[in-house]
Subunit: 219 residues, 4 copies
Amino acid sequence: MSRAVEAARETVARLHAELVRYQLVSWTAGNVSGRVEGENLFVIKPSGISYDELTPASIVVCDLDGELVDGDLSPSSDTAAHAYVYRAMPQVGGVVHTHSTYATAWAARNEPIPCVLTAMADEFGGEIPVGPFALIGNDDIGKGIVATLEGHRSPAVLMRNHGVFTIGPDPKAAVKAAVMCEDVARTVHVARAGGELVGIDPVAIDRLHERYRTAYGQR
Amino acid sequence: MSRAVEAARETVARLHAELVRYQLVSWTAGNVSGRVEGENLFVIKPSGISYDELTPASIVVCDLDGELVDGDLSPSSDTAAHAYVYRAMPQVGGVVHTHSTYATAWAARNEPIPCVLTAMADEFGGEIPVGPFALIGNDDIGKGIVATLEGHRSPAVLMRNHGVFTIGPDPKAAVKAAVMCEDVARTVHVARAGGELVGIDPVAIDRLHERYRTAYGQR
Amino acid sequence: MSRAVEAARETVARLHAELVRYQLVSWTAGNVSGRVEGENLFVIKPSGISYDELTPASIVVCDLDGELVDGDLSPSSDTAAHAYVYRAMPQVGGVVHTHSTYATAWAARNEPIPCVLTAMADEFGGEIPVGPFALIGNDDIGKGIVATLEGHRSPAVLMRNHGVFTIGPDPKAAVKAAVMCEDVARTVHVARAGGELVGIDPVAIDRLHERYRTAYGQR
Amino acid sequence: MSRAVEAARETVARLHAELVRYQLVSWTAGNVSGRVEGENLFVIKPSGISYDELTPASIVVCDLDGELVDGDLSPSSDTAAHAYVYRAMPQVGGVVHTHSTYATAWAARNEPIPCVLTAMADEFGGEIPVGPFALIGNDDIGKGIVATLEGHRSPAVLMRNHGVFTIGPDPKAAVKAAVMCEDVARTVHVARAGGELVGIDPVAIDRLHERYRTAYGQR
């Protein structure tokens, strides 16, 4: 395979450690994928393999229909959903899926997470939306993700009764969105468990999101 | 002892580290056992020994009546329950017992965990049932486990006011069920604490469970 | 100092790592002490020293009035309470104090933890009681601990608006009681947050406690 | 740069590890700063850099207007708030900012944390107050912090819908306040989730705070 494929394998193998570090995953449920630069391919976690055993060589390569192109193992059972997102959203370079506890709890109530934290305004630009219930096995999950995220600034969607999918321009950004999604899902859950939430003015949310996109981090 | 015994000791000693990693156990409470291939024996954690000190040599060997056959230490105080399961369920090759927080909380209310997550449909095929209150010291716990699990697809049972027992074709599968049981017990607890749960259609649960059994992981 | 003092220092220094491992302590709040075998002395954590820096040499030695006898550092600000317990309860060889989250939450409501788990019956023989509000600086905390625990099988007391004190025949047993106290405080909190608790028959509690005292662990 | 600058860089780089250890931060959100002894400067975390990558050399130096004086990276996006505090409060030698879960949950309800724990009386001398909602980008956050903390014994303020700022005579004391703030925010949240809180007499709070300030730790 090309150098771009090997670089993507290395990046995606390494990023799974962040899912473990932030306790977003149990056992083998949860996966990161990344588009291969300049090729109609993406790389993704193999199915049912533990995070301790993931190496760049174990990461599998798929085409944009989700068909295995290179690798010794079967791809993640969520591969079709990742593939659909890469086909439908050319600006997306990385996709992450987890069943992280607090985000999935909102999904089990089919309830979006209201934007009551400046950190949510920064990263998500508003509430984190819920997507439809969809069975695994065809394009339904992918369609639900894309239909929900296309009208939103949020890089995260809570799929009903299922878990979280996040997108980003690259796999690291999608992992960051997954980490922050669980963080704000937990904080807002705890906040509302203690009483009535105080909202943020939508104009302030817009200003925070715009500033974060343009002024945060290193140039 | 035979090579199969030593292999089982090694596997079971190592798998206890997963109970620690996923914070399913405090101090010395919680144990894994495994049937010895081709012999009427199983291996199990010794009683009251810390997880740091567990070595393959410290794992004890019992016959299917739970009597000590080999080992320098007394077997787990839960040995009779494990033995009963091995006698009654020949398809079971591994048993795990924990007092993991969220699963035990459902058990303290004598309440099954409703199946509102696709990950529950996958692993448990429906709700996680509760078994009866039973005192330690005879076959009552074992009988309660078997009577509850025989009518169920779930590999996990919440024993009332006590904790979790899980089964599997081998010890690793039983450990996975214990990890996933706590994971979904926590997510569904958090979900319901925040408002009304949204259910999953029983037909969808059946389809998810069937697909997971046959298509997940490596062949 | 004698060999018994040095042995106690080594044991008590090492046991603080269990408070950290089980997340019972933040920063420097929480301490373990141990009676010195055959002498009217006990050893205890120095005040305000981080757990990373604790060595056997940093552990200080006090007489049973809580006066410093050996050591380069000031003793824990809870020394008077530990000393009172050693004076009043000759069977006690170890004392632990923490502000662990869930146990302290019950203490902030002045509410005992009801015995709804077999693991509580085992370790505590019933509910975990609350002791009075008492200010630091004299014998009031010690008196409150002793007055509460003398009528109880529980080795743990929740001091109102303050935190947990546990006792044991040796420091390791007191640490175990502190670990199990937080474990059951958390499980029962979560259980009750989800609905109505199911009780355990007092006769069953007695039988569980008696069996655990006599049959658990290694002889 | 001077030796005092390099010492401050080393201290501040190292203290970020405490934010990680106590799980006060996700990804790159949260920062420590420290005044440089004898100079009109402070050092602070660079923006958007992960805690794993922080070295003394990566810590940037700013003047008291928050302008970069030395360093290869852009300063934290919260630099203006830190700078305002150093200008307005000459006794402050360290500032910490986090979005720690439980403290931020109280901030999302615009609700102070009531003082129902002796550990709160010790460290905070009463309730932990809330400050106003303020947008990033000018001195509004700094002004809100200073206006709130000037009338209080608390070294911590919960900024509405945002997170926590803590101050101290040095960076380590500010980090301690951030750690203890999250600890008591969590304990009081859990306590109140379980029922009615029991208060502490204000006279007792005063006595506890005074004793802690003068008698805790090493002299």
